[in-house]
Symmetry: C2
Subunit: 284 residues, 2 copies
């Protein structure tokens, strides 16, 4: 894909809080596409930040979010979901009026509710891209290319700030859409959190002595179970109810399969499998 | 990987019954490695067989299994599991004493039991390689490289024939091991049939309007659900009891997850996820 380079930076200085896979990839895209003139990486570990700078992902780094936020027009919080609220609050306290803060959290309901008192400064978003890998070493400027970014405004989000966030996401190479935080969470429970739960459950069922018999099908189906347990504990907890519903829907499908197996009903089995294939093939 | 070329063909003429992804890949490996001097593709569709020959996968083709078997030292039956028994019987009726027949079926218990009266002619095997794709167009001479081949002898399998089958699998590039048909089926229920069931259940849960929100995690976790429903109906039916047990084990894991979610027990959640990650990481 060709990468459009902007003649004018959209957001002269952008601070990225949390320079891991997501934050590092975003930083790389901002620089490669000329979206920001200056990208400040913010984190807690000075050595890791220095390495990210040496890797060319960020222009500067700071362990002081307040200071970095003060110098930035836009702050993108890419920390784990259970740290986003505190990071957004700290940035908001330092930034002048008219600045914008967003995040990249995989759950939006709890975060957007807790930050409802900052409608002008914060609007949530979630770029639907990622990997089971961690760390800026796996970052890629093209991670977000043609991916979907779900923006989750509330009824108090100022239209100009919302428009600005769409423009930013699109400049990064994403399609953008809007959903309420609750809608986002119900959708992601099915498209992201349930697959993680299922992949993890499947990985857990494999006894060590069966590992050598696991071929590509097992490996693909469980790949995402290698994700960071800490990150996913926070995601699961923040989307507990919707995830439980999604698990129940999956259990109902497995229940139908067990019934067809018990009854040796080949017509029902084939129909069950054919519906799954139709759904999967539609993803292309 | 370097491909050792045999100075003498191990099995001068091999008939491969069913020239699809598996049969076509095996044919390609036999020719590339010099394992057979002559590979006869056997199937029902003359046009497809002619295309497989034109693609260089087979030397000759026939729609007459009896005739092809008569001219072969080894027959490998790569048809769907519900056709293997009939194909093996037809080949066995035509072949001289000392010939060997094996198959590539994903389930072994039913097939090996039904063929128990042919211990000298037939020994079951299952190369653990495959794809959700179908047809010889996706065949690859390296599909079996370094994969595991599970050979499922019975107590009446002649040692010389068993040894011959090990040598054949190893010449194709596989590691070989032995399990009883029942052991094989219990193992594959967990490592292959359960992942397929889970991937299919997950694909089914995705409503059409949510498709655009499905990112790489969902796609990877459901990839194998694109497999042929007809093939998998037969596999599920032949391994019904072991698959039901495997589903129950998965449901127990999901039940533990739901309990931890309901109790907002972050310690239990993290432990649940960490165990899955440990298991997945061990697959490398």
């Amino acid at each position: 894909m060709s990468t459009p380079i902007l003649s004018q930076p959209l957001e002269p200085t952008v601070a990225i809080v949390g320079v891991g896979l997501i934050g590092g990839s975003l930083a790389a895209a901002l620089k490669q596409r000329g979206i920001a003139k200056r990208v400040i990486g913010v984190g807690r570990n000075r050595l890791r930040l220095a390495d990210a700078k040496a890797a060319g992902l960020i222009d500067e780094f700071s362990t002081d979010l307040t200071q970095a936020a003060r110098e930035s027009q836009l702050v993108v919080v890419c920390t784990p979901v259970d740290r986003i609220v505190a990071d957004v609050r700290q940035a908001a306290a330092a930034m002048p009026a008219g600045s914008l803060i967003t995040d990249a959290g995989s759950v939006k309901g709890v975060i957007c509710e807790e930050l409802a008192d900052l409608p002008a400064a914060y609007i949530g978003s979630h770029p639907l891209a990622g990997s089971e890998k961690q760390g800026f070493e796996h970052a890629s400027a093209t991670l977000f290319d043609q991916r979907l970014c779900v923006i989750t405004p509330t009824k108090n989000s100022p239209p100009a700030q919302l428009q600005r966030l769409h423009a930013f996401g699109q400049a990064v190479g994403m399609q953008t859409c809007e959903r309420s935080p609750a809608e986002h969470d119900a959708i992601l429970a099915v498209t992201s959190h349930l697959p993680h739960a299922v992949a993890a459950a499947l990985a857990s069922v494999l006894a060590p002595e069966l590992r050598r018999f696991a071929a590509s099908g097992f490996r693909d189906t469980t790949r995402i179970a290698a994700g960071d347990p800490e990150l996913w504990t926070a995601i699961f907890q923040q989307n507990s109810a919707a995830l439980s519903n999604a698990i129940a829907a999956l259990e109902a499908r497995l229940g139908a399969l067990k019934t067809a197996l018990q009854q040796a009903d080949s017509t029902a089995l084939k129909k069950w499998l054919a519906q799954a294939k139709t759904n999967r093939d539609a993803l292309a």
